[in-house]
Amino acid sequence: MAQVSATLGPLDITRAPEGGEIGPIQSGWKLAAREFARNRLAVLGMAILVFFVLFCFAGPLVYHGQVLVTNLNVTDQPPGTGHPLGTDDLGFDNLALLMWGGRAALTVGFLAAVIGIGVGALWGSIAGLAGGVVDTVMMRIVDVFLSIPFLFVVLIVAVKYGASVLGLSLVIGGYTWLVPARLIRGEVLTLRERDFVAAAKAAGSTQWRLIRRHLLPNALGVIIVNVTFNVADAILAVAALGYLGFGLHYPTQDWGDLLSKGLSYLQDGYWWLIYPVGACIVLVVMAANLVGDALRDALDVRLRRR
């Protein structure tokens, strides 16, 4: 890009025809970043995500609430001094529980999304590049998985393998690769007809190198957008599993576990066990969706406002 602008030579903007100004050429990523920064909702979403990452991962280092040893003198306390968000039925500090629960939820959400994208990107690019029977078979397999309601399979598998953070990430990630696989296959189908792919082939690239060096980097936009949406979906899935009681095993808890516990206190009016954790889930998922929407607008050239 820089070379192109150099060969154009010095451009006298003042003498350029009106309405046809040519500015300095910027890389696509810089343009996308600028476009993203201009979107106020996206910046807000990003800020919320950063806040929650700090809250869940740095928070427990600063705030030492009791989450492991029961203290029956202070059960079900409303928010007050010593316990900014109250305590639960075992005397655990609710704010600290939120931090630890969020740590589990965010870790699983992120891991599941990365696993999903990794598998999906490989699957989609192999199918798209191979074409023919291989493509048909691989995409039929995706159809098969997409036809099974997500929650059903994940629940069945999670009963046995969902007890640990890694296990739960694999279970959820094992299901979130389907949509990315379809999208990336579509992207590869258009990319593989382009000249640079033909050039790479002519230069003797292996299929694997073609995928790794030429196709995936060009499909990176699609991949990044999908990671954010997948994080949102995975966090909702973790919450649903935790709520139904098939999530992580005690003492690791996530937000869904906390919410499910809070539900039994709905009639007692212990609001601090319900609404803070619910708000955490909604805020994180909403922020991830906002960022995803904005990234799609920023990276998709067709949608970009010029």
């Binding site: 039929r140 397999i141 159809d143 098969v144 998985f145 997409l146 036809s147 099974i148 309601p149 997500f150 929650l151 059903f152 399979v153 629940l155 069945i156 598998v157 009963v159 046995k160 949102a232 909702l236 919450a239 649903a240 709520y243 139904l244 098939f246 869904g256 919410l259 499910s260 539900l263 709905l266 009639q267 319900i274 619910g278 889930i281 909604v282 805020l283 998922v285 909403m286 969706n289 906002l290």
Partner: protein, 315 residues
């Protein structure tokens, strides 16, 4: 047209068979035999082996699968060993309840989302549009059970308008008549679906508003109300047809969570309870039903779209 339908039907059957193979293998790996459930956890190993042999659980997986599929084609969904009842009779008792909850929620969701989307497109970027978008975005980010929980707190425990539990009646007519109990489950599932649909409906309506036929309709002096209802509405609804077909798995998942939250004895709650007891024929059968519904839903949506939209030319 016929060739297209036949081809789609063919791929649908392939997908359904694929789902059945995958689910059968998955459950087989997780849960090879129900012998201990029938004979008790302390059963003698020799007795367990004999029982497995007698009931065919020692046969190769392929043989077991083919036997299951043969039964399936005769309407036999297998035997639920924990519930000690055939799955067909178990489902026969409750499927209408789930069908009612999901069906009426889907209907309400479509009836709300379509006018809402048209309204948002017509009043684009107004306060009303932004409020609806914000609400839809928030609901979209909400776990189903959290939304249900808020509705419970508000309408059941604070205002005492509706019942906190879904109808427990056995007769479907009594359930349909029991608005007091069914309003909250239906509202929960409807709102979650509306949140999913309204974004698409809004953008579809905005796309259509920019088309020439809208300009023509306005130019001939048609009142805006008629432009929206007669010309915009029908065209903007077209993507909804596909979307509804695609959203069936989400609807079923939402149905499961809603039934669990409101203790509504339908297929979703039955599935949930069977997870605890690992009654695998129930798990297998409901997952297969869900997959078939999804495939059929997509097929019907595709065919309906070609009927509704004459511009779609099929090769």
């Amino acid at each position: 047209m016929t060739a297209y339908i036949l081809r789609r039907l063919g791929t649908s059957i392939v997908v359904v068979v694929g789902v059945s193979i995958f689910m059968f293998l998955l459950l087989h790996v997780i849960y090879p035999s129900p012998a201990l459930d029938v004979l008790g956890p302390k059963a003698n190993l020799a007795v367990v082996a004999a029982w497995n042999r007698q009931h065919g659980f020692n046969d190769p997986v392929a043989v077991q699968y083919l036997r299951y599929m043969k039964g399936l084609l005769h309407g036999d969904l297998g035997f639920a060993y924990k519930a000690n009842q055939s799955v067909t009779s178990l489902f026969g008792e409750v499927w209408l309840r789930s069908a009612y909850l999901s069906g009426i929620s889907l209907l309400f969701a479509v009836l709300i989302a379509i006018p809402l989307g048209v309204y948002q497109a017509a009043r684009r970027n107004s306060i009303g549009d932004n409020v609806v978008t914000g609400l839809a975005f928030t609901t979209y980010a909400m776990p189903v059970f959290f939304l249900g929980l808020i509705l419970l707190q508000l309408f059941a425990f604070s205002l005492h308008i509706f019942n906190f539990e879904a109808s427990q009646s056995d007769s479907i007519w009594a359930i349909i008549g029991d608005w007091h109990s069914m309003a909250l489950p239906i509202a929960t599932l409807t709102l979650i679906s509306v949140a999913g649909y309204s974004r698409y409906m809004r953008s579809s309506a905005i796309d259509q508003l920019a088309q020439d036929f809208i300009k023509a309709a306005r130019a001939k002096g048609l009142p805006e109300r008629l432009v929206l209802t007669r010309h915009l509405l029908r065209n903007a609804c077209l993507p909804m047809v596909t979307l509804i077909g695609l959203s069936i798995p989400f609807l079923l998942s939402g149905n499961l969570l809603t039934e669990q939250l409101f203790n509504y004895h339908g297929l979703g709650l039955l599935f949930y309870n069977s997870l605890n007891t690992v009654d695998y024929n129930i798990l297998l059968a409901y997952t297969l039903i869900g997959a078939v519904l999804t495939v059929v839903g997509n097929l019907v949506a595709d065919i309906a779209l070609t009927v509704a939209d004459p511009r779609i030319r099929l090769a």
